[in-house]
């Protein structure tokens, strides 16, 4: 979750200044954060960082940072003497990290008068920050550092090579963890990503070790100094490409590094001893953990007791289901499969190359189960390959990769497996590439398959200005036979903002929430929570309705002009200053269509003075050929030929013609937004919503 930092008086000053100073056109360009320099901050310290962006950061007044223990504020910018609004694409942020803050990556976002920024990321680290300085492009000009340290720098241009030198004693453990490429998925408009490579060399210049891709595209290098002396550490893009936004941090130290644990899944509320898997562990012994009983189920980052010390944060899978661990005996085929009960969470490990793990359970005909391997997402090296077999070894189900939250994972999941007959069944897991070793740990969550649904928000932020409306589209993914309609709800709106929550029809995939900022709304930002609740029909079985919390998806400008999404933790609603479109009004608040007929909705919007850019009217949220939000009832479409949607110059009127297919089913009062879109770039647009339009389809 992104949490708002304390609002300072600066916010009010900035707001007042901007209301007076912003130009009258093209204000819809919310800042897109590109990089933070340095990209890391040390625990227990306050430090200044420079954020750079596309579009203007001027007037930024608040920083939201995810998690606890880290806050940030905008370092005030001098007021311009000429009274004009400066165009700032970089400014200073001051991050304050509590001593007990969990190291790792945090999201942050800036609130500005022109809207909430895209997401940026900062790395919280244990050791002091050393910033790259001067010409350090060769061994001769290497920058001297002292370990431990977190080196921060940038592969800022093509052919850039950053070299650091340090001394080490013979036998000294050395580890270097790079975070760079992994910080770039959420950068909204970074068209090419870094692929860093690390090389450790002796004083003679001979390569001691190198690492290219260890944690996905980021390197990690563990070595032991072979002799007393000086060493150099080199980082570059493997292709020798560069970009000013390619920031990196290298956590460099001699401490143990725990990469993952075994067993991976842990029951709650009990003392558990875990084997650490990683580097320079020496005689560190086992890890101890006791997860509180209210720990959320699933993956979470924890620091564990490692001997007298505390480990680096490591992912642990918390399980409320009964847990079991793969036994020492061979379980490589259905005949030797280890007996387990279901539902449960099984921890295991693909011990060696070509190892196969089999677990057998008993089930009754008609029972339905879901099997999910949690491994790669939890830091395992495993690329899971999951099969369900009958007792004779015949394959009944298979899954290699898992697509969840619109993204592809190398974990596996098979949902809604229906038991064909009473008997024994085998869960078989292996690495798809037949690899194995200590790092190939996994947890298999076996559960009864029940209907449920996932919700996604497109996108991760809604921009409002006083007296305007904004729209949030919510999309559902239904699972295991879930077929009901869903009522949408929202919490945590900023002051002065209200919401009209629509629904997702049983026949549909999308619904919308229309937000309204009151005319006197002040600059504000808040992270909201969107949820959905099953609309139970009269004949539904008893029990509470199913609910689900929506996951925001940040839109990303893909190379070539495509639009894609990356899951983020929070959706921000921002109230800014008046923008290019001051209002969008409809000729009617509701329409009722008979099947086979059409109706016209007149649209009138107010342009800001001097704003003459094209405005596109639409009911669907789309880009190129893809539709990302469509809350129209089934069978209702836009009559493109009869509609007038491209409004140019100073014009401000258009119309949307909706038509109902001859077989359109009856629907009452489905909430729809008529949007006025203004392009920011080829992919992104500022969207202004009308008040809710309720669309009904009558009986034929």
């Amino acid at each position: 979750m992104l949490r708002p930092a304390p609002v300072s008086i600066f916010r009010l000053i900035a707001a007042a200044m901007l209301v007076a100073a912003v130009p009258t056109a093209a204000r819809a360009q919310y800042p897109m954060l590109m990089s933070l320099k340095p990209v890391a901050a040390q625990v227990g310290q306050a430090s200044e960082h420079t954020i750079t962006s596309r579009y203007n950061l001027y007037g930024a007044y608040q920083v939201l940072v995810s998690g606890t223990g880290v806050t940030a504020e905008v370092v005030p910018v001098p007021k311009p003497k000429d009274g004009k609004t400066p165009s700032l694409t970089s400014l200073k942020l001051k991050f304050t990290v509590a001593a007990n803050a969990l190291p790792g990556v945090r999201d942050f976002r800036l609130a500005t008068p022109r809207g909430a920024s895209t997401i940026g990321q900062i790395v919280i680290v244990a050791d002091k920050i050393v910033n790259e300085t001067g010409n350090n492009n060769s061994a001769k000009t290497a920058q001297a550092i002292t370990l431990p340290a977190t080196i921060c720098g940038a592969i800022e241009q093509a052919e850039d090579v950053d070299v650091f030198k340090f001394t080490a004693k013979k036998g000294q453990p050395l580890s270097f963890l790079v975070r760079s490429q992994r910080l770039q998925d959420r950068i909204h408009d970074l068209q090419k990503h870094v692929d860093p490579i690390l090389t450790l060399r002796t004083a003679a210049g001979s390569t001691l070790a190198s690492s290219d891709n260890y944690f996905f595209a980021d390197p990690f290098l563990a070595a032991t100094a072979p002799a007393d002396g000086e060493y150099t550490l080199e980082i570059r893009d493997v292709r020798y490409q560069g970009n000013g936004n390619w920031q990196y941090s290298i956590e460099s130290h001699s401490r143990p590094v725990v990469e993952t644990i075994y067993p991976l899944a842990v029951a709650l509320g009990i003392d558990v001893s875990l084997a650490p898997i990683g580097h320079h562990l020496g005689s560190a012994g086992s890890l101890k953990i006791n997860l509180p009983s209210d720990t959320p189920e699933g993956r979470g980052w924890h620091r564990l007791a490692l001997g007298p010390a505390t480990s680096n944060p490591v992912q642990v899978v918390a399980s409320r289901l009964p847990t079991s661990v793969e036994a020492a005996a061979a379980n490589n085929d259905p005949k030797s499969a280890q007996a387990v009960t279901v539902p449960s969470t099984i921890s295991g490990r693909i011990e060696s190359e070509a190892d196969i793990d089999c677990f057998v359970f008993e089930a009754k005909k008609g029972q339905k189960y879901t099997f999910e391997v949690i491994a790669r997402r939890a830091g395992s090296a495993l690329d899971a390959h999951l099969r369900i077999l009958d007792a004779k070894g015949k394959q009944l189900a298979l899954n290699d990769d898992l697509r969840r939250l619109k993204r592809l994972s190398q974990d596996s999941k098979f949902e809604n497996f229906t038991v064909p007959a009473d008997g024994k069944y085998v869960i078989e897991v292996r690495d798809v590439h037949l690899r194995g070793g200590p790092r190939f740990v996994y947890a298999i969550r076996t559960s009864r398959a029940v209907p449920y649904f996932d919700l996604f928000l497109d996108s991760d932020k809604t921009q409002l200005s006083p007296a305007t409306h904004g729209v949030i589209f919510v999309r559902v993914e239904r699972h295991n036979g879930f077929g009901s309609a869903i009522d949408l709800g929202v919490e945590g709106l900023p002051k002065g903002v209200t919401a009209r929550c629509g629904r997702i029809l049983a026949e549909g995939t999308d619904g919308c929430i229309i937000l309204t900022a009151e005319a006197k709304a002040q600059l504000a930002i808040a992270n909201i929570t969107v949820s959905g609740t099953e609309i139970q029909t009269a004949d539904a079985k008893s029990g509470p309705p199913l609910t689900s919390r929506a996951r925001p998806m940040q839109e990303t400008y893909m190379p070539g002009g495509g639009r894609n999404h990356w899951p983020v933790d929070a959706h921000a609603v921002n109230v800014g200053t008046l923008s290019d479109i001051r209002s969008v009004k409809l000729s009617t608040e509701s329409v009722t269509l008979k099947p086979g007929t059409s109706t016209t909705i007149k649209v009138n919007f107010e342009r800001a003075p001097g704003f003459t850019k094209n405005v596109t009217l639409d009911v669907l949220y789309r880009h190129l050929g893809s539709v990302y939000g469509n809350s129209l009832p089934k069978g209702v479409t836009i009559d493109a030929g009869a509609s007038k949607t491209l409004i140019t110059g100073k014009a401000s009127e258009g119309q949307i013609v909706l038509k109902a297919a001859a077989d359109a089913p009856e629907v009452q009062m489905q909430q729809v937004s008529v949007m006025a879109n203004v392009s920011i770039n080829f992919v992104m647009k500022a969207t202004y919503s009308s008040p809710p339009l309720m669309v009904s389809v009558s009986k034929k």
Binding site: N137, S138, A158, E159, D160, V161, Q181, Q184, D185, Q191, K192, H193, D195, I197, T202, A204, G205, S206, T207, S210, D212, N213, F216, A217, P226, A227, V238, R239, Y240, Q241, A354, D383, D400, D401, R407, L408, S409, Q410, V432, H433, L434, R435, T556, M558, P559, N564, W566
Partner: protein, 834 residues
């Protein structure tokens, strides 16, 4: 019984009278044998001919000791007199060819006359004949197809051309006998055959030129082959005369012969079939000289040694091929004065020198060795400082110490400073062969593969592991470098051909469409090998983010197919057939694996492979020094496929350290390493050498200054360089070593003489000459450094004197030294490894 189709023996062989004479004095000959004074050996001594037209070649040799034949025994096959004691059972030609004529048993007398004709040596060969019947059982597969092959009818230039010839199409080398039989008997409404009057068949009238034939005269009308074809047609042209058995191997006699120029040797070829039967196929086998400057071969299998050296005759029949090796020494003796073995390489090289009568050149000097071994092991010139230190060193073991330093095997980090250069140099070699290129892999995949290869050589990964990782590669093409092998070779056929050629030295392309012409490999062998790769595919991944477009190499489990290694038994694996393939490929039982690497490395270091072309290992293309190949391969296997150990063994040998100047005695040798074979510097090493010599580094596009040409990861368009292109840096389009052309061309000469690259570097004020002038070095010191920087040696007194004269004649010292450097860079001593 004698078949009516058989013409009188005189029509087939001009030996009738002799045969009759044999009958007359057979008894006397037997008595004379007891009085022999010139012993002979006849092979075989017992003969069984089976069926019509069965033939057998006798080979008669002078016995060396007692009744045994040696490699040096003279061939008397065409000088002895043959007599069939019963021509109705068997006839015999003057060249010793027996022909079955009727069922029964008899003997053939073989008589050698001594000088003056008084002394005789006689041997009797027992002959039995069976299976001669009224209607000969002639089958297409057993009898006709070999005749078509022998006479070239089913070669690619004749009726096995893509569209055949004259509408008549046969399969290449008869790989599809069913199709061929139908082409003859059934195609075009049987217009090619007359089964009632076979001799009138177009099929026979064409090759005998009774009607015009584009292929000319191919078959004599009175030949045995003609009669076989007639008999076949008379029998209706059947596909087979019973179950057709595959030829499993050929046996050639003699297998090896040491001869003198002008010597002849008759060969005898026996085919072994899958049913354990054998048949003399000397008459139907195809013969090719593998070096026509040394051997000539007649269609009858008679070899004539026409030049000095070592060469083989390739014999083909059915689906098999075999060789007979001939050695014609350069001189009768080789003293090898001063020769001292450094290791086993020298022992075996010396044995070959003695066998061939070759005197090797002497040892090269220290400066030459330093430059040679530096360029060969790390692709880099020695610096002037290291050259001086090495040349002036008095340590007796300095060459060995240098080798260990260059290989990074001293154990002292300060001395093992060349390891990265070693890795870069050999990465370049293998990147060429594996064909790492951004054109096919994109930038990121190319770098991933490059970094994996380089890390493998940096850590001296054992070669069997290197190959196993490559052949069984899986995972992300960005994170798992070897996975890119499966993108370079995008389908099972490409993988088959590349893997076989790269790691076995076997060229399988031919077998994709037809039986390999020079090898035992069939389409079935090809497909069996390709089956190992059938299940390999890719899946998508987002581990490199939304923009990564990473793909992941995976194997689909359960892919079926009879996967069979070349010459092996089918292998199985439930999940990934490449795993047993890698085990077989790199297994110690697979001699091709080690020999392939050894041959390549011998070629890289000594300028020529023991087998040439280096990636064409086959039984019909034997090593020039079989013992050396075997010993080096065994050494490589024993060292657990340690490439550095292999390199060390070769460069430590005296053989490697010989002078490149030939002597009068060995100037004719180009194959046995009697003097070091000069090699042109590879394009990348040459450019690096120019950079080092001039002190001006080349800046490659998109790579930081300081990146050496030998470190370039790519042959694609990203880092193109005109100099490298001119000097034949390969585009990595082929797995063949030949893609890097060793030949010089005019463009190269013009570029070094007049091109911008060298001229600019020589005149660069920050270059070597500029720095020497700035430092106000003495003339002698400047000249010495220029010689050391380019040629790795000090100038001779004569060269120093000449340089002083040149200085005096030059407008300025700057021009003098720039011109001198230019001249040195254009000298052969600089452009070649010598």
């Amino acid at each position: 019984m004698r078949h009516p189709l058989l013409r009188p023996a005189s029509r087939l062989h001009g030996t009738c009278l002799l045969a009759l004479a044999g009958l007359f004095f057979g008894q006397a000959a037997a008595q004379a044998a007891a009085q022999k004074s010139t012993p002979i050996v006849v092979a075989p001594e017992q003969v069984h001919l089976k069926g019509h037209f069965d033939r057998l070649q006798l080979v008669v040799s002078a016995a060396a000791q007692g009744s045994t034949r040696t490699d040096r025994s003279a061939d008397l096959t065409r000088t002895v007199i043959y007599t069939s004691l019963n021509p109705d059972v068997v006839s015999v030609s003057p060249s010793g060819e027996l022909l079955a004529r009727g069922n029964g048993t008899t003997r053939v007398e073989v008589m050698a006359r001594g000088q003056g004709g008084q002394e005789k040596n006689v041997r009797l060969v027992e002959v039995s004949v069976s299976g001669v019947a009224a209607k000969p059982a002639i089958g297409f597969r057993q009898h006709v197809s070999p005749i078509l092959s022998k006479h070239g009818c089913n070669s690619g230039s004749c009726h096995a051309a893509q569209y055949g010839k004259g509408g008549f199409k046969l399969s290449v080398f008869g790989y599809n006998p069913q199709l061929d039989q139908k082409s003859i008997i059934r195609d075009r409404h049987q217009r090619r055959v007359n089964l009632v009057a076979p001799r009138e068949s177009l099929f026979l009238r064409k090759p005998t030129l009774q009607v015009p034939h584009g292929g000319g005269l191919r078959l004599a009308r009175d030949s045995v082959d003609h009669e076989i074809l007639v008999a076949w047609l008379l029998a209706g042209g059947p596909d087979s005369n019973g179950k057709a058995h595959d030829v499993t191997r050929l046996e050639v006699y003699p297998k090896r012969r040491v001869a003198t120029v002008g010597t002849t040797q008759q060969l005898r070829v026996v085919a072994h079939y899958s049913d354990k039967s054998t048949r003399d196929v000397t008459a139907w086998a195809k013969y090719d000289s593998m070096d026509e400057s040394i051997l000539e071969i007649a269609a009858s299998g008679l070899v004539t040694a026409s030049g000095r050296g070592q060469a083989s005759v390739m014999i083909r029949f059915g689906s098999q091929a075999e060789i007979s090796m001939f050695v014609t020494p350069f001189a009768t003796t080789a003293k090898l004065e001063g020769w001292k073995n450094n290791n086993f390489v020298d022992e075996l090289a010396a044995a070959k020198f003695r066998e061939l009568g070759i005197e090797p050149s002497g040892l090269c000097d220290d400066a030459t060795f330093l430059r040679r071994v530096s360029l060969d092991l790390i692709g880099t010139l020695p610096s002037p400082q290291s050259a001086v230190a090495f040349i002036d060193s008095k340590r007796p073991d300095k060459r060995q110490r240098l080798i260990d330093e260059l290989l990074g095997q001293t154990g002292d980090p300060a001395r093992d400073r060349f390891n990265d250069l070693y890795a870069a140099w050999w990465t370049l070699k293998w990147s060429d062969l594996i064909r790492n290129s951004s054109n096919k892999l994109g930038e990121q995949g190319m770098w991933a593969l490059h970094n994996w290869i380089r890390e493998s050589f940096r850590t001296n990964k054992s070669f069997d592991r290197f190959v196993s990782e490559l052949v069984t590669a899986k995972g992300s093409i960005y994170s798992s470098g070897p996975a890119n092998y499966f993108r370079i070779n995008g389908n099972a056929n490409d993988l088959t051909e590349s893997t076989a050629q790269l790691f076995l030295g076997i060229r399988l392309e031919c077998a994709k469409c037809h039986h390999h012409p020079f090898e035992k490999y069939s389409q079935g062998d090809y497909n069996g090998f390709a089956a190992f790769f059938k299940g390999v595919g890719t899946k998508s991944s987002e581990e490199f983010g939304l923009f990564g477009r990473e793909s992941v190499v995976v194997v689909k489990a359960g892919t079926t197919g009879k996967a069979t290694p070349l010459g092996g038994e089918p292998l199985e694996h439930p999940l990934d057939l490449r795993i047993p393939l890698a085990k077989w490929l790199t297994g110690k039982q697979n001699t091709f694996f080690a020999q392939n690497v050894v041959n390549r490395y011998v070629s890289y270091l000594l300028g020529r492979g023991l087998v040439e072309p280096v990636d064409d290992l086959r039984s019909t293309n034997p090593p020039t020094n079989v013992a050396l190949m075997d010993a080096l391969s065994q050494h490589f296997v024993t060292s657990n496929y340690d490439l550095k150990a292999l390199l060390r063994a070769i460069v430590s040998s005296r053989l490697y350290q010989l002078r490149s100047q030939p002597t009068k005695a060995n100037v004719g040798d180009t194959r046995f390493y009697s003097h070091f074979q000069v090699k042109r510097l590879a394009a990348e090493a040459l450019l690096d050498a120019v950079d080092e010599a001039t002190g001006v580094q080349t800046k490659f596009k998109s790579l930081p200054l300081g990146t050496r040409a030998t470190e370039l990861p790519d042959a694609g368009d990203f880092y193109s360089n005109y100099f490298l292109k001119t000097f034949a840096k390969p585009k990595r389009a082929s797995v063949c070593e030949c893609e890097r052309s060793p030949d010089e061309n005019l463009a190269q000469a013009l570029h070094t003489l007049n091109g911008d690259t060298i001229a600019g570097k020589v005149a660069n004020a920050k270059g070597r000459v500029g720095k020497l002038l700035t430092a106000k070095s003495t003339h002698e010191a400047v000249v010495q450094e220029l010689y050391l920087a380019t040629l790795g040696r000090r100038p001779s007194p004569q060269e120093q004197a000449a340089s002083r004269e040149f200085l005096a004649a030059s407008p300025s010292p700057k021009e003098c030294y720039e011109d001198l450097l230019w001249a040195l860079l254009n000298s052969k001593q600089f452009l070649f490894v010598h």
